[in-house]
């Protein structure tokens, strides 16, 4: 599985990751997304009724944890992390609006087309995310 993300995701992730109260986010992302098949990742709430390219909202760590929005392009085995927000704590917020979901959806499509993405990988210890600007394979 190739994992990419939007700039929005990277910015939000770095903001949250710098706060002590959200320092489990990085490990939660690694545990949930890395070394997983498309079938395993096809879980959560599917927002777009698409079999081939499901747009998914996933709860990590249950109710009090994080909400992640991502797109799977199953044929290409590509996954695009679009946005993350916590539900509780100083940065906690309610779910994003339907208009925001539609906006992010359009944005990820544009970023895929223009290769305006970051590729995500892990360090040798497999405990840190590495973001690298790259072109989609």
């Amino acid at each position: 599985m190739n994992i990419y993300c939007l700039e929005d995701f990277k910015v939000e992730f770095e903001k949250l990751n710098s706060k002590k109260s959200y320092n489990n986010l990085e490990q939660d992302i690694i545990d949930y997304f890395f070394d997983k098949s498309t079938i395993e990742l096809s879980a959560g709430v599917r927002l777009n009724n698409s079999e081939d390219n499901p747009y998914i909202k996933k709860r990590l760590n249950g109710r009090g944890g994080f909400r992640l929005y991502f797109l799977l392009i199953i044929k290409q085995e590509n996954l695009y992390l679009m946005f993350v927000h916590p539900k509780t704590g100083s940065e906690g917020s309610e779910n994003i609006t339907d208009e925001s979901k539609a906006f992010l959806y359009k944005k990820v499509l544009n970023c895929i087309k223009s290769n305006d993405l970051y590729h995500l990988s892990l360090n040798d210890n497999k405990d840190t995310l590495i973001f690298k600007r790259t072109e989609v394979v």
Partner: protein, 154 residues
């Protein structure tokens, strides 16, 4: 005369202590019964709350899976609409139950079970909102429909 008063006070004290001691020998048995009954009620409360939470968790999983069904017809949409209304109704009953547990919660009784119960009913609320979004609101946003169409060409 003074000696007689002392003797009477000592006898009174002796009598009071003896009576109290006798009652205390008997009363722990009675108190133990009350404590046992209280602990039984507490265990029963925890057990039933845990069972209720597990039932709601299974509903939450089933509700999420509905968003992965394809080719739904009009009847399915009507059923989903009814399901959303019923979940809303259920959620408001469960929130009332949670509020009624405030006193118990403040006393620190079954804190973990009550917290898990609240978390689960919060997810239930999120799930019916998601169902509404997925089946009724997002498909009405033209930008959203257009993006789905364009993505199928990628």
């Amino acid at each position: 005369m003074e000696c007689l008063t002392h003797k009477s006070e000592i006898a009174d004290t002796f009598s009071s202590v003896r009576s109290f001691s006798y009652n205390e020998k008997k009363s722990p048995l009675i108190d133990q019964e009350r404590i046992n009954s209280f602990l039984d009620s507490l265990l029963e409360f925890r057990k039933s709350l845990k069972e209720k939470t597990e039932t709601i968790i299974s509903f939450n999983d089933r509700i999420e899976r509905i968003t992965w069904y394809n080719d739904l017809d009009e009847e399915c949409y009507m059923l989903i609409n009814d399901l959303i209304s019923t979940i809303k109704d259920l959620h408001s009953s469960l929130i009332r139950q949670y509020i009624s547990m405030n006193y118990i919660r403040q006393k620190g009784i079954a804190k973990e079970e009550i917290r898990e119960f609240k978390n689960t009913i919060d997810v239930l609320k999120e799930n019916y909102q998601d169902l509404e979004s997925v089946f009724f609101f997002l498909p009405e946003i033209s930008e959203f429909k257009e993006t789905t169409k364009l993505l199928s060409l990628v």
